[in-house]
């Protein structure tokens, strides 16, 4: 259990949020031109990193906005939150 700093609403309890998995997996613009392998890559294959991971979260019980988060999955430490469409922090 941890606190998340919603980029819109400020610091809130994690129970107000829902996780949406890895960030920056863009839905292919032309799915019909992908092979089954490439489509499976988009659908199912994940890095599932132990360590610093970029992921999507939704303030489901607050402003309902999706945003991105940089979090260390090995200790739940959050390094950054940033809005959808913004560039991920480089460090």
């Amino acid at each position: 259990m941890f606190l998340i700093n919603c980029p819109y609403c400020g610091e809130r309890d994690q129970s107000e949020f829902s996780a949406g998995g890895e960030a920056h997996i863009v839905r292919p613009k032309q799915p019909t031109e992908l092979s089954d392998d490439q489509w499976a890559e988009f659908l199912f294959m994940r890095k599932n990193i132990k360590g610093v991971q970029f992921e999507r979260w939704n303030h489901a019980h607050g402003c309902r906005k999706w945003f991105n988060m940089v979090r260390d999955t090995s200790n739940d430490k959050i390094y950054a939150v940033y809005k959808m469409g913004e560039k991920p922090p480089t460090k």
Binding site: Y8, C9, G10, E11, R12, D13, S15, E16, H61, G62, C63, R64, K65
Partner: protein
């Protein structure tokens, strides 16, 4: 005209429920009779100025705040979403319809945003008393420390696992918005929880 029915079972809306169980507890919980509530959405400058023109109110753009005028209050829900509600209980009918239709015509139909009537989507419950925040904290992950001293503050959070919008109307006085189908259960929970503070 059809009968209006409260969402909160077996509670006469005119009957203010008060809980005063021991020497230091003081809580008054009542459902506020139906008032107009609109969900308004939009992003552009034109949208904001049109709303201002029609409602004579500046929508709050600061997170977790509200603005109010003589007739209505607008509360911030997200960067492109607000809930506005009338400050006073009025009969439904022409006046309410006019505001909604005016907004719909000038916002929705002009593609500036969206206007949705949510008068019955949300039940508004007024809670007052010095033990108010103890009641809320018994079922809510939100930290009310700053909120409770900030008149006009707004938060969306969970109360007893239920989505709620809480508006700080005044010291120890809030309005709580809960979706109608959840309201009877939440009401029951509040009455139960109030016995333990």
């Amino acid at each position: 005209m059809p009968n209006w029915n409260s969402a909160i079972k077996k509670i006469d809306v005119n009957d203010v429920v008060s809980v005063n169980l021991n020497h230091h507890s003081e809580l008054f919980i009542s459902e506020v009779e139906p008032i107009m509530k609109l969900n308004i959405r939009g992003k552009s400058r034109d949208f904001l100025s049109m709303i201002g023109k029609i409602l004579n109110i500046i929508l709050p753009t600061e997170t977790n705040t509200s603005t109010t005028n003589k007739f209505i209050t607008a509360i911030w829900l997200s960067p492109d979403e607000w809930l506005i509600f009338k400050n006073n209980v009025t009969n439904r009918g022409a006046e309410e319809t006019n505001i909604e239709e005016n907004l719909y015509k000038n916002i929705s139909q002009k593609k500036l945003g969206s206007i949705t009537n949510v008068s019955d989507q949300f039940v508004m419950i007024n809670i007052q008393g010095k033990n108010l925040y103890e009641l809320l904290s018994s079922g809510c992950p939100f930290n009310f420390n700053d909120f409770k001293n900030k008149k006009g503050a707004v938060t969306q959070t969970l109360l007893n696992h239920t989505d709620v919008i809480i508006y700080n109307e005044d010291i120890n006085k809030i309005n709580l918005f809960v979706r109608r189908s959840f309201s009877a259960h939440l009401w029951s929970w509040m009455n139960d929880s109030a016995r333990f503070i």
